[in-house]
């Protein structure tokens, strides 16, 4: 065995980790090679020095402190067992409950949305039987009169053409009643009593009745074209 090979085995040889033919070959080589013997002595010194290493000093009360901590652990363990016995049924964890709760929440939201009044909004119907309004559509009803540009704000979202036409017709009839009836109602009360603007008196089977009047959009149709006119409505 050559020096290089022997030196690769020397650390293991000095720690008694080589056996068999290798051990014999190394021993034979060391008996004849002074340089390798010197190398061997270095490893042996190192081994002895490593065995001499002493442990870092633990504090004197190490055992006492450790046992004290263990006693605390035991106390904690006993108390936990006594006060919080293991439940016979498995405890529900958030991981298990979360998907169920999520599904329930989604179903509840869907039900609320489906049953809400907004969902029952009727689609505006365009009554072909209404007087003079068979061909009217949305775009026509959003037209504002020149005299009163805020009129469109009176149109509700859930309007229907029939309602609007009925209101316009009622307004026309009331207007006729106001002008045809005599006395107080026929006066231009708006000028005489500006504080009662918006109110009028209507004849009824039970006598004259004060009614609230506000401007409405009256829809009418002329020959060849459609238009809008500001009018009054009685409530």
């Amino acid at each position: 065995m050559r020096c290089r090979k022997v030196r690769s085995y020397l650390s293991a040889y000095c720690n008694d980790e080589v056996a068999g033919r290798s051990l014999v070959a190394i021993q034979e080589h060391l008996s004849t090679c002074g340089a390798c013997r010197r190398e061997e002595s270095l490893y042996r010194s190192m081994r002895e020095g490593a065995r001499e290493l002493r442990a870092g000093s633990l504090s004197r009360d190490f055992n006492a402190r450790l046992l004290d901590r263990i006693a605390q652990e035991r106390f904690q363990e006993t108390r936990t067992r006594a006060y919080f016995p293991r439940p016979s049924v498995p405890v529900l964890s958030w991981r298990r409950v979360a998907p169920v709760l999520g599904s329930v929440a989604v179903i509840a939201l869907a039900a609320i949305f489906a049953l809400s009044p907004g969902s029952n909004r009727a689609v505006p119907t365009y009554a072909s039987s209404s007087p003079g309004s068979s061909s009217l559509d949305d775009s026509y009803l959003t037209v504002q009169p020149d005299a009163n540009p805020n009129m469109t704000s009176n149109l509700k979202k859930n309007w229907s053409l029939d309602t609007q036409l009925a209101k316009a017709e009622r307004s026309r009839q009331i207007s006729g009643m106001l002008t045809s009836s005599g006395g107080f109602a026929s006066m231009d009360y708006r000028e005489a009593f500006p504080w009662i603007y918006g109110y009028g008196i209507v004849d009824s089977p039970f006598g004259p009745v004060v009614v609230k009047i506000r401007p409405v959009l009256r829809i009418y149709e002329t020959s060849g074209s459609t238009g809008a006119k500001e009018d009054q409505e009685v409530y």
């Binding site: 020095g49 442990a55 055992n63 263990i70 652990e73």
Partner: protein, 200 residues
Amino acid sequence: MPKETEKDIDFSLMKAIQNGDMVAFNTMVDRYKDRLMNVIGRMLSSSEEAEDIVQETFVRVYQHRQSFNFQHCFSTWIYTIGLNLARNELRKRKKFKFYEISDMQGHETEFAVEAKIPSRLPQAIDSAIRDLPEKYRTAFLLRDVEEMPYEEVAKALGVPLGTVKSRVNRARLILRDKLQPRLEEHHALSKSTLLPVGLL
């Protein structure tokens, strides 16, 4: 009557501990506290931290006493726990670097410490071991300082047997190169005076 081995003593103590015998636990602590401190103390620079880790190791042993598997050596088990705790501590240190106040005052002292070679061989070896990379240091400490069999070292470190042998050999070569002047000096002195190694 066959002599009771270390392993048998550990097993009988462990059975007693499992039955709640605190005297057996105290005996077990006495058997292993210095050995653990010998390894963990050299992995961590501060002896207070090492002592805390050793204490925590025994606490874990107590907490998990019922899960000990008698198919394996107790020493392997306790070293595995201790080394894992020490590694966690080293990982924490990598995240948060701690500086000594002396480090803040300049590097002169640092160079002076590095240049200083301990006069006695064991201290020189101790200092050289602390400078080893962690994986070589742990393998060397378990094998050459604690004299554990290679198989147990492999189990404690959770690496293959060949890897342990390679790491131990590499650690020895590094130490030999680093300590060559001190080892030669020691060899010459021991030949002339024949003093025990500890006194040199």
